[in-house]
Homo-oligomer: 342 residues x 2
Amino acid sequence: MTTRRPRERGVTVEDVARAAGVSRQTISNALNAPHRLKAETLERVSAVIEQLGYRPDQSARSLKSGTRRIIAYPTPVDDPANPNPLMGGFLEAVVAASGEAGYRILLVRPRPGQSQEQALDELIAARTVDGFLLSDVLRDDPRVAHLTAAGFPFAAFGRTAPGQPQSWADVDSAQAMIDLVGLIAARGHRRVAFLASTGGQPWMDDRRDGFLAGARRHHLTTQVYSVPGDDPAGIVAATRDLLSGRARPTAVVVSGDWLTLGVYTAARAEGLEIGEDLAVAAFDDLPITGFLQPALTTVRLPLRRIAEALINRLLRIIEDGVTPEAGLLLPGELVVRPSLGP
Amino acid sequence: MTTRRPRERGVTVEDVARAAGVSRQTISNALNAPHRLKAETLERVSAVIEQLGYRPDQSARSLKSGTRRIIAYPTPVDDPANPNPLMGGFLEAVVAASGEAGYRILLVRPRPGQSQEQALDELIAARTVDGFLLSDVLRDDPRVAHLTAAGFPFAAFGRTAPGQPQSWADVDSAQAMIDLVGLIAARGHRRVAFLASTGGQPWMDDRRDGFLAGARRHHLTTQVYSVPGDDPAGIVAATRDLLSGRARPTAVVVSGDWLTLGVYTAARAEGLEIGEDLAVAAFDDLPITGFLQPALTTVRLPLRRIAEALINRLLRIIEDGVTPEAGLLLPGELVVRPSLGP
């Protein structure tokens, strides 16, 4: 169980440094301490990393005996008939990244009647796992607080609070929204609406804040519509309300792809052609987006890079005892499709 | 780790037996040895089980000390940007069913350069897990042969060969196809085509065989079109070829939902209205099917029931040393939507 596979000759950090015209340390910073780099350097280096398919070499890490080589992943409850593709995609990326480093993923979920904290304690006490990978991290997430208090290794998809270990990685949703609104403004739109479900998750707030920051920058007139939950009828009604006003917006930014199904229905009901009379853009790049007519402009989450960064960070803690000093924000990718219009 | 949660008062086997007007043994047979029951009894009992939401009580099982309470699941490689929703849904159902019994799922995958057998042996030797859950089981699956030879507990989503342990559950794809063709025949269609990718997986062969059996029963004229892989352009070309002939079929049965995307495109290109000029039906009930226009008639896989049956069977082997005498076929559910026409 402690034998590492022999290192395969692939893309090395030297290859990436040479191609990007920077030092090895800069590549390392881009992966582990991106705040130390200038934005333009980070962008150039990230593009080269992506282009060459470089993955940090886990085999350089010291082996620490006594590890189980098992990472616990508290898996969110889902609907078997319609599983969340973002969580499925993230899990696949996590299995691939941890497998490369010789670790396996144990799916864990509190038993009925058990709290999140009790479920974590049971695994820690039984020494079943070396660390935890958390996703769907909320503000004041009790799992983060509990693992911080227990001093047990973890890494989080989503931000931890100041004062907690900064062993997290996340999508820079706000920046992606700023870029999206910039594109919409450049196409001549002046009245732009933001449509969101009122879930209150931190990533949804980031998307809204990014929208508002982008709109301010370009002096756009905005409306923000919030609908409770993700009930399709509610979305359709809110969008029809939004589109039937006298000064209707010419572009609608939706907080997540799933809600656009209601927006498409509402636009049709109001006799508006999406991509011609109304520009629509959203967030997540779910597989359904390719089936919408017209295809949807959206933001793709860098799930592989997030998974790799999280496993990388978690193993630094488990194997080397080193906790990252800062979280890691990774850029979303704007995918422009016909729903945005000409 | 060995504390079981207290049994919750839920639907009992007695409740189900009373509602269905049969004995407890009949309920047990319906779940574990359905071949012992008449088709009509099985159907009635299955409907009541579904309706009452009955789940077999795992807590009645004897506890065997020394178990890890971890089940290994060799997870298929997937695409993070477009994960297979059937595998995601199955995994969710497996996590739920194993969690109810106090077991967790360890995701395993051979390391690069490692064979499937070596990956299994490593886990067995290290006593990491109590048993294996296999999915995507192929004919002559080397994992099944290896676990059979090793005498190690496993259960398989997909059929094992005669002479191997019959610790499997599967969808009765052939019967679902026979039912689907019966419905198409009842709506007056006489020329029906079957469109499939030539993957050669056993479940795809079952679907084709069921189609042909149904067509024979109703004396339908059939064509079977096979296209290599699931390349959209290939599907579109094959379907256009199929629809441009002089005696074109009035109904097309597609081996899987994913391929219907090409069928919809081809029908439009040929000026045919799906649901009016051409009936289309497929298999899997993927989440995308709801977004097709018109919505697609398809067959839903009973993923929760399969996961529960497999965990049930695997734990009987692990905890009681009892291997099932026969595999378990569970019915698919026909979901009729407008693509089938009037």
